[in-house]
Amino acid sequence: MEPISAILHALPWDQILIQTLNGIVTGMILALVASGLTLIFGIMDVVNFAHGELFMLGAYIGVVVMATSGSFWLALVLSTLVVAIIGAALQITTLRPLLGRDPLTTILATFGISLVLQNYALWQFGPVARKIQEPITGRFSLFYLEYPWYRIVIAVLSGAIIGGFWLFLKYGTYGIWIRATTQDRVMAQAMGIPVPWVHTAVFAIGAGMAAASGVLFGPLVGVNHAMGIDWVLRAFIVVVVGGMGNLGGSIAASIFISLLEAYASIWVDPAQAVIVSFVVLILTLLFRPTGLFVPTPK
């Protein structure tokens, strides 16, 4: 017992608790990004490389709306809608012609989109990071820290958006269309579901969710043109670890990976903590290629 209690005493419990909270908050945002990505993959076999750029674009539109109207909540709603429309336009112009081709071509096309969007943002907004003012400035004390309430609000809001979306998928007529198309594209078409428009709508919804998470995340760090890349890489990891096209799995995986990264950054540099999630991805691919959070296939 002696060595165990020594280890327990040596652990920085206050830091661990703070990092747990941090991990859950980033995990919820990541879940919001990744659920759009996994849905887009599940329904149309498109690996959306540009998802991070939609996140970034959402944050920038949030910055612009904030600057003109001053209201954070208006920025959140408007940016979600605008990016959803942009997403629909992108899907119609670039992904629809690729329907039925090798899924790998969609990676290339969306990679092209991400390059264009990223450089467009750099051109329009310059390299200096912009700041979104947080709408709730209250803090509560947690050990030696004044922890901002806003972070808790982010986690709750992300959870609410994902929950609302889940209810929509489960009970809404259009949600049922989406699930039907995921399960069997040809059969859904035969039953009169306009499959191409379902694809467009799903891409728009995914884009809107990425934009919402961009606006929510904006106040925590600066908004800049390269912020999307980090997120899209982590969202890829989450989507693979959670099981491709599996919504529940990717939410669990988001929180799992964010917690791991948060704990790792107690001991190593945050830039190196990313490697932990890379390693989780590789181990998952080696031992459970269908994903960590899905039942073992029989």
Partner: protein, 317 residues
């Protein structure tokens, strides 16, 4: 292969190589460097064509091999007193091969997009390591070093000028092309192509598909590392930016633009891309990727074969 067709092919090959040999006497300094750069990026793209075009695996991790080639060359040039060209190449190839073995072992168990994502993540691992391990790699600033002399011990020793460097790079790239062409036409290359066409059937016939894939990734990694060494010698620095996955993305863009599965196509694609970049950066400065990206997307949709795709069969004869 008909005799006449092969005659035309080799005549064309000789004419192009001859043009590239005399090019330094004609073109001004800027364009001389530019052509050399095209050749180096072309070699990188050609190396990834082995995977994309011949084995049917899209690698988004070639920046790791390229970058490790650069850092390997840097290690040799910084540690040995009079910098030695051959040692730099040796170290670069060892670095790239080590990484390629590691990546190949894990990633070849996966297919399609999973392979693409895994190679991408692997290259990011190496990027993070190189970026944060400042004592050894110089971190964000990278490493700078001086160019070695082009020397064969006991025979001659020339300093690298823009022209001699061009000829050296041309010799390496031409040799690599001939070797890769030979490999793709060998029985080994045929197995790779049959993996591309139908992996399950290839396995059923009795080929150890995984082993072939590992060798393909390593081969591809070696040539990408060679390109990295050449680039390090040309620019006299190694920087983490070249390990970043955007470089791998560029290699894939070169392939798609030029036409996959042709070996020459990726070089043409690199030339096309770099010319577009040069042209557009006159008007758009550093935002050239906006028009270039749009052209790239349009080419994926309307021209999936790439610029040289229509000659694919002829070039592979």
């Amino acid at each position: 292969m008909s005799k006449r067709s092969s005659y035309i092919y080799w005549t064309g090959f000789c004419v192009i190589v001859a043009l590239l040999i005399v090019e330094p006497f004609v073109l001004p300094e800027f364009w001389r460097r530019f052509v050399t750069e095209i050749l180096i990026w072309g070699l990188l793209a050609m190396s990834s064509d082995i995977l994309i075009g011949y084995t049917g695996m899209v690698s988004f991790g070639h920046s790791a091999f390229f970058g490790l080639g650069m850092y390997g060359a840097a290690a040799a040039l910084l540690s040995v007193a009079p910098p030695n060209l051959w040692l730099a190449i040796l170290y670069g190839l060892i670095g790239a091969a080590a990484v390629a073995l590691f990546v190949a072992y894990f990633s070849t168990r996966l297919r399609d997009i999973y392979f693409a994502i895994t190679t991408l993540i692997f290259s990011q691992i190496f990027y993070v390591i190189i970026f944060t391990w400042t004592e050894v790699t110089g971190g964000e600033n990278g490493l700078t070093f001086s160019r070695p002399a082009l020397a064969i011990p006991g025979l001659f020793s020339l300093p690298f000028t823009t022209s001699t460097l061009h000829w050296f790079v041309l010799a390496v790239v031409t040799a690599s092309y001939l070797i890769l062409r030979r490999i793709t036409q060998s029985p080994f290359g045929m197995v790779l192509q049959s993996i591309r066409e139908n992996e399950a059937r290839t396995r059923a016939i009795g080929y150890a598909v995984e082993r072939y894939k590992i060798v393909a990734v390593m081969l591809s990694g070696l040539f990408a590392g060679l390109a990295g060494v050449l680039y390090a010698i040309q620019n006299r620095f190694a920087a983490p930016d070249f390990v970043y996955f955007l470089v791998s993305g560029e290699a894939v863009i070169f392939n798609v633009m030029g036409g996959i599965g042709t070996l020459v196509g990726p070089i043409v694609g690199a030339a096309f891309y770099l010319l577009l970049r040069e042209g557009f950066s006159r008007f758009f400065t550093e935002f050239y990727l906006i028009p270039v990206g749009i052209i790239f997307i349009a080419m994926i949709i309307f021209m999936p074969q790439g610029l040289l795709g229509f000659m694919r069969r002829w070039l592979n004869q």
